[in-house]
């Protein structure tokens, strides 16, 4: 039996157990556009694992998990907890709980079967799978409404500064020529997980200091929110100047894509700014 066989077999069996959970996840990614980034997450996770395959092979051939069995046994405890969460989530229909337990189960299997050395090389790729799990709907719903109010307030304030007469009534903006609603689809909150996933993946793509990686990963969400508010201000301004035709353009209709691309550009700009700061002094 090669050194890889037990680990690969255990991970494959875990994925088989979770097959119905994965099918449900894929159905949600296909059904809700704000979750469609879920399809990209396993591919990026596989890439992150593939990048570390050399180091992992060396680790598996050099050490035996039995040598560090106490730490490996922690994996067994965590695996039992993850499978317990799967049972509770499946029997009660709490899909978030069942879904969240998948990356935890995969990580704990690596620790228990492959040992701490294998986990050191695999944790980034497997932990990345957390991004494929949609946030619980109750949380998402509350955050989305609060973000709609914030977006409407920021847009109204910016329009007033630009000399546009506007009356804000909650999530509704009354312009002299038309009324606009900052709808659920206008909020960037549903895409926040995608934006953070984008930031983390981008930060992992090339060697960087830990703090530069952290800064890039953490910056994605606020940059995305700012990009969305800028898009709303431009849309409202165009609606004031041009009328309803302004709502029928690519930037408004493909708001999610626009914000995603704008966030990517802002991340590239931030990365450029960080380069001189992370260079060794000398």
């Amino acid at each position: 039996m090669s050194n890889w066989t037990p680990l690969v077999a255990a991970e494959a069996a875990t994925l088989l157990l979770y097959a119905p959970v994965l099918v449900g996840l894929a159905a949600d990614w296909a059904r809700f556009p704000s979750q469609s980034h879920g399809f990209a997450i396993p591919v990026i996770a596989a890439y992150l694992i593939w990048m570390r395959r050399g180091a992992l092979a060396a680790e598996l051939s050099a050490s035996s998990p039995a040598a560090s069995s106490v730490r490996s046994n922690v994996g067994l405890v965590v695996l039992v907890a993850a499978l317990g969460a799967l049972v509770i989530g499946s029997l009660t229909g709490e899909t978030f709980l069942a879904r969240l337990s998948l990356p935890i189960a995969l990580l704990s299997v690596v620790l228990f079967v492959g040992g701490p050395g294998a986990l050191r090389h695999l944790w980034v790729g497997l932990a990345y799978l957390f991004f494929m799990v949609p946030l619980p709907y109750l949380t998402l719903r509350t955050l989305t409404y609060q973000s709609r109010l914030l977006d409407a307030g920021a847009t109204a304030a910016a329009l007033r500064r630009l000399g546009v007469p506007v009356l804000q009534d909650g999530v509704i903006l009354h312009l002299p020529n038309m009324t606009l609603e900052v709808a659920d689809e206008c909020s960037s909150v549903p895409a926040i997980a995608a934006l953070i996933a984008l930031g983390v993946a981008y930060a992992q793509m090339k060697p960087r200091s830990v703090w530069a990686r952290g800064a890039l990963a953490l910056a994605a969400a606020p940059l995305g929110l700012a990009a969305n508010i800028a898009r709303l201000i431009l849309t409202a301004l165009a609606a004031y100047l041009l009328g309803p035709i302004a709502l029928d353009n690519v930037i408004h209709r493909f708001g999610g894509t626009t914000v995603f691309l704008a966030t990517m550009l802002l991340l590239l700009a931030l990365d450029r700014l960080l380069i001189p700061l992370t260079r060794p002094r000398g």
Binding site: M1, P6, A9, A10, A13, T14, L16, L17, S64, P65, A66, S69, S72, L76, L79, V80, L83, L86, V87, I88, S90, L91, T92, G93, E94, T95, V109, F112, V113, Y137, L138, R141, Y145, D169, G170, V171, I172, E181
Partner: protein
């Protein structure tokens, strides 16, 4: 422990989990659902007539049984909906948080305090009303959605039941303002609590 033995332990755990998840039957359907439409149309001075505007209290497609009435007391009016949800171990049969109060043509939703239940002021073009609501499992009332979900999980896991009521009372906000509407909602809450006692079992 050797690696082969660790693999065997993992496979054993996975098989046991699969057995529990895929062999455990779904919770049973409510054998004798409460006859909500037999709730008295006269409630503590209020008189009810069938029907509630859908734009005020939306209908949830997952409801197993429902009572929807417009109650009047002098010049005051209130809309009441009591809905039964069963077998909520299936997510599609659960009371939807999107259907408790209207969300279309709404400019503002404000949570307001009305212990022991939850209440929200719904404002939209040309209308403003309070929606007081709670979930009920057996005799226990839940104002918080997350506490209700935890209680439902417990009920499904240990009692193998997944039934609950969603009670909603909508009161228009008149010239007296939100406090008067909340007082009316609280008055009807107490009346409904009494009327529902003993009708919530399955």
């Amino acid at each position: 422990m050797r690696t082969g033995r660790r693999l065997a332990v993992v496979l054993g755990l996975l098989v046991v989990t699969a057995g529990v998840v895929y062999v455990t039957p779904s919770v049973r359907e409510c054998p004798s659902p409460p006859a909500l439409d037999t709730l008295s149309a006269a409630l503590a001075g209020w008189t009810g007539a069938d029907g509630v505007p859908d734009g005020v209290l939306p209908v949830d497609a997952s409801e197993t049984a429902t009572m929807r009435r417009t109650y009047r007391n002098g010049r005051r009016v209130a809309w009441v909906s009591v809905a039964l949800f069963t077998r909520q171990d299936e997510p599609d049969r659960r009371a939807s948080v999107n259907r408790i109060y209207p969300e279309k043509d709404v400019s503002m939703l404000e949570r307001v305090a009305l212990p022991p239940i939850a209440a929200v002021v719904v404002s939209g073009p040309g209308r403003r009303f309070v929606v007081a609501h709670w979930h009920q499992i057996g005799g226990r009332m839940y104002a918080s959605e997350s506490r209700f979900r935890l209680a439902l999980m417990r009920d499904i896991l240990f009692a193998r039941r997944g039934n609950s009521l969603l009670v909603r009372i909508a009161v228009p906000v008149g010239p007296e303002g939100v406090p008067a509407a909340l007082t009316t909602a609280a008055e009807l809450t107490r009346a409904l609590e009494g009327a529902l006692a003993g009708r919530v079992g399955c």
